[in-house]
Amino acid sequence: MKKKLLALLLLTGLLSAALTGCGGGSEEQASGDGQTADGSAGARAQTNEIVVGIAQDLDESLDPHLAVAAGTKEVMFNVFEGLVKPTPDGDLIPAVADHYEISEDQTTYTFTLREGVTFHNGDPVEMQDVVYSIERCADDSEGTPLIPALSAISSINSDAATLTITLDQPDSEFLSYLTLAILPEDYPDQATAPVGTGPFRFVSRTAQDSIVLERFDDYWGTPAQLDKVTFRIIENADSLVMSLQSGAIDMFAHLTTTQASQLGDDFQILEGTMNLVQALYLNNTAEPFNNEKVRQALCCAVDKQQIIDLAFDGYGSPIGSSMYPAFQKYFVEDLTDYYSYDPERARELLAEAGYPDGFSMTITVPSNYQPHIDTATVLVEQLRAVGITAEIQLVDWGAWVSDVYTNRQFQSTVIGVDASNMTARALLERFTSTADDNFINYQNADYDALFQQAQATADDAEQTELYKQMERNLTEHAANVYIQDLADLVALRSGLDGYQFYPIYVMDLSTVHYTA
């Protein structure tokens, strides 16, 4: 009798464990079913506002210079601007600056301030604010500056309208760092009530719940089309689809294909890119991947399109080197098919390398990234077809960072590598022999030389060409088995339009508008 009771208890336990998986969903729905303070989706269309779901709360401090999480930068992109700002095409256009000039030798940058730019608190943007913002990010009195690349600045000179920045040595990519937010000097509440110059101004924040932005009517450029945007935090992935369907939120970025397929006709699914280089990264000094032929064999054995079809429902862009298509300027399209799927050729290469019967290998995958686990699952099967026995080893994120990324104790791993800013250098410098973040131990003298040349040249076209040669070098020597740039699926309620994807991780809402 007692044991029966025990069995019953355990069954109940299992059931409740299974139910907690979806329990959050119904709760969330009850508290945010579209009839709350936000009003229904229809009412929001009348008042020209939207609610955007985000997966996690922002950093505790909203100060843009101190922001750490990509999710914070993504949202606050709407509030802040730098001297220049990125465009969806990947160019940099003047923002707080009206125009700029770069000297022939690329060591002197001269900016002319735009007239009539005001902060959200009504104060005009003065030169001292600009200098303050740049010097704050370049300040190295407490160790590394907030933006390390700014340590190249040797002097900053300014008068009321022009700013001249002089560098120690030429850096053709320096401009991309001047997207740093321009903040008012002597404003103490940046962390809680941020003030910038962007198309939206910060209104309020409720921790763990929402962030409210409103259109900034005195914006210098094309004003935002929506009157108000509320970012609502929806941490439970299960309740997300319900929140969208019930009308609690109108938009969500970074959906999974399963979530996207559950949304009905009320939504349009926009497909952009995550701007990541997803690959089977190979430790180039570990057996047997220190043999180039083995690495090439793996490239031939992997069918990128099948991975995209099976694990990602066909969403995703195949790639062939450490560059993703959104970087149009640097992306080399023909590298994608450099190794076509050819298991026969893979077997031949393995035989040439001395592994006619294949070998065993381990793929280390961080257990919190389902897309990478799914990719590895397909990889295991594809490799099995050419006689390679691959085993997936799941590790938690902390262990991945320390074992794989920092200590380089791994054979292979599936991960997505992103670019920290809009430069090719951000993706390619890591594979130079001595780079701290060269976690695959790629050693190639030609590659290092190409990188040196690219840094030394002041000619943009020549530099672009050198970067492309670096990409080709990675592909030809099969540094990694490149797979894809993951798709970024954005759900947008029907009746809304104008969302634009950027080649970096931001969510620009200034162009979103109701069509009717």
Binding site: K3, K4, L6, L10, A17, T258, Q306, E381, I392, L394
Partner: protein
């Protein structure tokens, strides 16, 4: 010892478990499809004659994976019970028979272990041993199961410590080891066997929960728990996936549960 009667529970349990065991054995040597083979053109198909339980999101045949996965789950559960039962019985026998300080110390340790929810304890052990390895799952679960076996056998050994046939054996000069194994152990079977069947069921559920939480079996290996966690995300679009996998877990547990119930009732009739 008089021959004990078969009862309905035992019979039904043996038939059902026999059926499941046959399926698992079949899965070891033959499955309709390669359980890991991916089929691009056959993603998430409903049950058909070709795919009895449909296909999953990678186009793998779910029936084949259930056969193979039930085997994995069964093996893990069996090894877990073996670890728990052997260690637990040993601890229970020693503490129950000898008593004293060792008894106090070991039983308080068991109390401390049982104070933690079992899944939580297993999670802690897994994170110490390192996740993603099914042998570690067996060790972690087995350790979690030790206290319950120790408790059950300790009670039985303590009760039988001073019965006449044990006293006689002692007088005849039998060693303590011989008394424990040859005299007392066979007579504890009627409490030990049901405990093992319940333990087995708990182990199946625990393996399923741990794989469900992503720390048990690593993909692409099939296990019922891991498959169930995959199926959960597609409950609306592919209900057959969760039903087929969950059904297999239910049948596996139900069969062994019936055997346990039958054994217990049979024991009751005798006592």
């Amino acid at each position: 010892m008089k021959r004990r009667a078969m009862n309905g529970y035992l019979l039904a349990g043996l038939v059902l478990s026999g059926f499941m065991a046959a399926l698992i054995l079949l899965g070891l040597v033959w499955t309709p499809y390669d359980p890991d083979a991916l089929m691009t053109g056959a993603k998430l198909e409903g049950p058909t004659l070709a795919h009895l339980l449909g296909t999953d999101s990678f186009g793998r045949d779910i029936f084949s994976r259930v056969l193979r996965g039930a085997g994995t789950t069964f093996l893990i559960a069996l090894s877990t019970v073996a670890v728990g039962a052997v260690c637990g019985t040993a601890a229970g026998a020693v503490t129950g028979y000898f008593g004293g300080v060792l008894d106090e110390a070991l039983m308080r340790l068991c109390d401390a272990l049982t104070a933690f929810p079992s899944i939580l304890l297993a999670l802690v052990l897994i994170s110490i041993l390192g996740p993603g390895n099914k042998y570690n799952v067996v060790i972690a679960l087995g350790m979690v199961f030790i206290p319950s076996f120790a408790r059950v056998t300790r009670t039985a050994f303590a009760a039988l410590r001073d019965v006449n046939y044990v006293k006689s054996a002692r007088l005849m000069g039998a060693s303590s080891g011989r008394i424990l194994v040859r005299q007392i152990l066979p007579n504890t079977m009627q409490v030990l066997l049901p405990a093992m069947t319940i333990g087995f069921n708990n182990a199946v559920l625990a393996e399923a929960s741990m794989s469900y939480l992503g720390i048990g079996v690593t993909p692409p290996d099939a296990s019922l728990g891991y498959m169930l966690s995959e199926a959960q995300g597609m409950l609306a679009s592919a209900p057959w996936y969760a039903l087929g996998t969950g059904g297999a877990i239910v049948l596996l547990i139900f069969g062994v549960g019936l055997i346990g119930e039958g054994l217990q009732r049979r024991g009751g009739e005798v006592a």
